[in-house]
């Protein structure tokens, strides 16, 4: 006789309109904010949106789809090849959704660590893809990468608090 075990896992729903507005706003901020605030080049708003929604929905197919969509849109607004951000964000979305079933996401510490790990994974994916695919890849800058991780984690903690207000239990 098969034995099934149940562990209480909170899955949250977000209205598609909220998701669309958040994604659009993230992409717009990503293009506009560095003009006013040069340090914002280190921030990745679409990535934070992806991490949050992938963690909350706990659905790997959703994580892959959202990551691919956001990444490809981000790619089209750069001058580089289309697909670099798409692949990195698809992988990050998959990993975030996979990890979400194993952690208690209401804890601030868990959120901080997971966000830092996924920002680092995303940046390493980008770096790897650029080195494999581009003729003149940018050099690896550990300090800039560390700064980007810390800045995105700090930004993510604020952003996630705001987005928490719009979620509903599934």
């Amino acid at each position: 006789m098969p034995v099934t075990t149940h562990r209480p896992i909170a899955v949250f729903k977000i209205h598609p309109a909220i998701l669309s507005v958040a994604a659009l706003a993230a992409l717009l901020l990503q293009t506009l904010l560095p003009l006013k605030l040069p340090v914002a080049r280190l921030m990745d708003f679409p990535l934070l949106i992806l991490i949050y929604f992938a963690l909350m929905r706990r659905d790997r197919m959703f994580g892959i789809g959202l990551g691919t969509g956001l990444g490809l849109l981000q790619d089209t607004l750069t001058h580089g090849y289309i697909g670099i951000f798409g692949i990195a964000k698809a992988i990050t979305g998959y990993l975030a959704a996979s990890a979400s079933t194993r952690f208690e996401l209401e804890s601030l510490v868990t959120r901080t660590v997971l966000t830092g790990v996924f920002v680092l994974v995303h940046n390493l994916c980008l770096y790897g893809l650029q080195h494999v695919l581009l003729e003149a890849p940018p050099p690896f800058q550990p300090i800039a990468t560390a700064s980007a991780v810390m800045m995105n984690v700090a930004l993510g903690l604020i952003l996630f608090q705001i987005l928490d207000r719009f979620r509903r239990p599934a």
Binding site: P2, T4, Q30, T31, D44, Q74, T78, H79, G86, T101
Partner: protein, 304 residues
């Protein structure tokens, strides 16, 4: 049937046991997200290969994306400007109130006026400089406003508010009085994408103002550039001015590009770091240098 206790959807079996064990279909079904990820990544690698084979020609996708985002960028950019101005005004008001409560209203009015006049004077001075620079150039230019930057930490590009409607085309040089900014790499009806000189994929034909030694300037790290193909036996010193050579057929000859900040010998060529003469993080207005044919088109548009 086998259930995954970690899955949120515990009602669905993850594998079906057959008398021979777990079938291929069941494995695919169990690892569906992983297969989906592999499919998505493979598709995008194929897309990347296609772009590399076709030498980066995916203009249609990029055209649609930029056209779709352009109105939002303009609107949000305007909103940010208004909010920024409002925030600055509020901050000045608050400071004035703290410093002198008795003269609060008077001081607030005075500060607001001073700020507005200062801002107008600054803008007028900036425009006067740009106009003076434009008039002294020996070629025709179009002024444009920077409306957005390119997303991505390693993406050194900006968007300007003039496009093919203003007679602009690809490969036009973009400059300001302080020096060279970059060149247009993608053109749209009402906007254009400018690749900055600090991008690793950019290349500018340059020479040293003092010695006339020529080389190719490419983007380096930390917003600096590297000067390539200068032989070890050439005399290059820190502080040497780098100007455009005009040999690349994009940038007119003699425009300032930057200053040599570091020189070292390599195997054959020197290793030279150049600090751009333009602060590329704070661009607002730029001039696009028209080629003769584009200048005629611009003149016709102006006549209409």
């Amino acid at each position: 049937m086998v259930f995954d206790p970690n899955s949120p959807d515990t009602s669905r079996p993850v594998a079906v046991l057959t008398p021979d064990g777990i079938g291929v279909g069941a494995i695919v079904n169990r690892h569906r997200p992983l297969f989906a990820l592999l499919l998505v990544v493979t598709a995008q690698i194929l897309l990347l290969s296609l772009q590399i084979i076709r030498n980066h020609h995916v203009r249609l996708i990029r055209y649609w994306a930029v056209q779709a985002f352009d109105p939002f960028e303009r609107s949000l950019g305007g909103l940010i400007n208004v909010s920024s101005t409002a925030y600055k005004s509020y901050r000045h008001l608050w400071t004035a109130e703290q410093e002198n409560q008795e003269l609060r209203l008077q001081l607030v009015a005075a500060q607001a006026q001073v700020q507005r006049l200062g801002q107008e004077a600054g803008e007028a001075e900036h425009l006067r400089t740009l106009l003076g620079f434009k008039n002294q150039l020996g070629f025709q230019t179009v002024s444009a406003e920077v409306i957005a930057s390119s997303p991505g930490e390693n993406s050194n590009a900006i968007f300007i508010d003039k496009g093919s409607d203003s007679g602009l085309t690809n490969d036009l040089a973009v400059i300001i009085p302080e020096g060279v900014v970059g060149k247009i790499v993608a053109i749209f009806p009402h906007s254009a994408q400018v690749l900055l000189v600090t991008d690793s994929s950019s290349g500018v034909g340059v020479s040293l103002a003092q010695s006339g030694v020529q080389g190719i300037l490419k983007g380096g790290s930390n917003n600096f550039c590297d000067l390539h193909y200068v032989m070890n036996d050439e005399a290059v010193n820190r502080g040497d001015q780098v100007v455009t050579s005009g040999l690349d057929q994009v940038y007119p000859k003699g425009l300032p590009v930057g200053t040599v900040v570091n020189v070292g010998n390599g195997n054959i060529y020197k290793t030279i770091n150049v600090k751009p003469s333009v602060d590329l993080n704070r661009l607002e207005m730029v001039l696009v240098v028209l080629k003769p044919a584009a200048a005629e088109q611009q003149a016709m548009n102006g006549a209409r």
